[in-house]
């Protein structure tokens, strides 16, 4: 009986983790014979991994923009996706979100103050704007025939991959291992010194991202992820909302929803629709609420 009650109280977390695992397997479904599809999702999914079956909207947008092709398909997914369900794909499907959640369970779960959290999330919008500007510049020059492709070297088609831990794990490190480029014995360790600076920079960024997520839950998704930044513009106005009923809420004496939120949202500041741009609809608040004051509404 007690086990059944425990299962019931964690049913959303179990459902979400199951969805994340299934999505992770399907996103890299090429490894067990799934063919590449035409599906584009608002997640960080690398194009460079041979087993990827769906395209990440951000990566696809960058790839097409730099080739002077207007990315209508990515814009459709981002605009309509954020308006319909906000950043729910971050919480339920994104492969790096899943990795972040695993780190979150092992990590320190520190909270940052509300003003800091709200200020730092704007950094992700700034990062997105900078990379879109670079993409459009490369694309425009490509279109005009005066290519500046060479100036960006390996990063000309997806400039943001230099700071994107998803493509570092699933493309850079994947090929590094698949092609056996790693040192195979002690004498080959000296070759590590001759690696390109970009390689070490990307590894450094990956370690920073993991450490950030270890100390502050989903810190990368909150403050750096460029796709998250763009999606957060439409998220407060989404149609499928997480709703707080003030008449049922116990207020600051309880605060279980605030403590459980991996995005550090001050849920109690909201009366009604929790219209925070960071909300990833993970429903941990709904699960934690003892009075069922939080619900999902359309």
């Amino acid at each position: 009986m007690a086990e059944k009650k425990k299962f019931k109280s964690y049913r959303i977390s179990i459902l979400r983790t199951t969805t994340q695992i299934i999505s992770f397997i399907l996103i890299f479904g090429g490894s067990f014979g799934l063919a590449a599809s035409f599906i584009v999702l608002p997640i960080m999914a690398p194009l460079g991994n041979p087993y990827t079956t769906v395209a990440g909207a951000w990566q696809l947008m960058e790839f097409l923009l730099t080739m002077a092709i207007f990315p209508f398909i990515a814009i459709t997914v981002i605009a309509l996706g954020s308006l319909l369900i906000g950043r729910a794909f971050c919480g339920w499907v994104c492969p790096f979100g899943f990795i972040s959640d695993v780190i979150y369970y092992l990590g320190k779960k520190k909270r940052v103050s509300n003003p800091t959290n709200n200020a730092l999330y704007k950094l992700s919008i700034f990062i997105a704007a900078v990379f879109i500007f670079i993409d459009v510049t490369i694309g425009y020059n490509e279109y005009m025939g005066s290519s500046i492709y060479g100036y960006f070297g390996d990063f000309a088609r997806e400039p943001s991959s230099i700071i994107d831990p998803t493509s570092t794990i699933f493309s850079l490190l994947f090929w590094y291992v698949a092609w056996g480029l790693y040192p195979k014995n002690v004498t080959e360790l000296t070759t590590l010194v001759s690696y390109p600076l970009a390689f070490w920079f990307r590894i450094f960024v990956l370690i920073i991202a993991i450490l950030m997520n270890y100390f502050v839950p989903r810190a990368w998704c909150r403050w750096i992820c460029p796709l998250g930044g763009i999606m957060s513009i439409g998220t407060p106005y989404k149609f499928v909302k997480v709703y707080l009923d003030p008449s049922k809420c116990l207020g600051p004496t309880c605060s279980l929803c605030v403590k459980s939120c991996p995005m550090g949202i001050s849920i109690l500041d909201y009366k009604g629709h929790i219209s925070n741009p960071l909300c990833i609809s993970c429903l941990k608040c709904l699960e934690a609420c003892p009075t069922k004051a939080i619900s999902v509404k359309i």
Partner: protein
């Protein structure tokens, strides 16, 4: 509903639907299949021995 909320929803809906129509017109999903079916080295910047 606030004016700001309605305006942003309207903008996103208009942008989304125009993009949807143009995506259908230019059959961009074929591009996605093509991109995912071939080897993309653009995310391998910094890979030792790439150049």
């Amino acid at each position: 509903m606030g004016n700001r909320k309605m305006a942003i929803r309207a903008i996103l809906l208009i942008v989304g639907f125009i993009s949807l129509l143009l995506m259908i017109k230019y059959e961009q999903w074929m591009l996605v299949i093509d991109i995912l079916s071939r080897f993309i080295s653009t995310e391998n910047g910094g890979l030792p021995g790439l150049i």
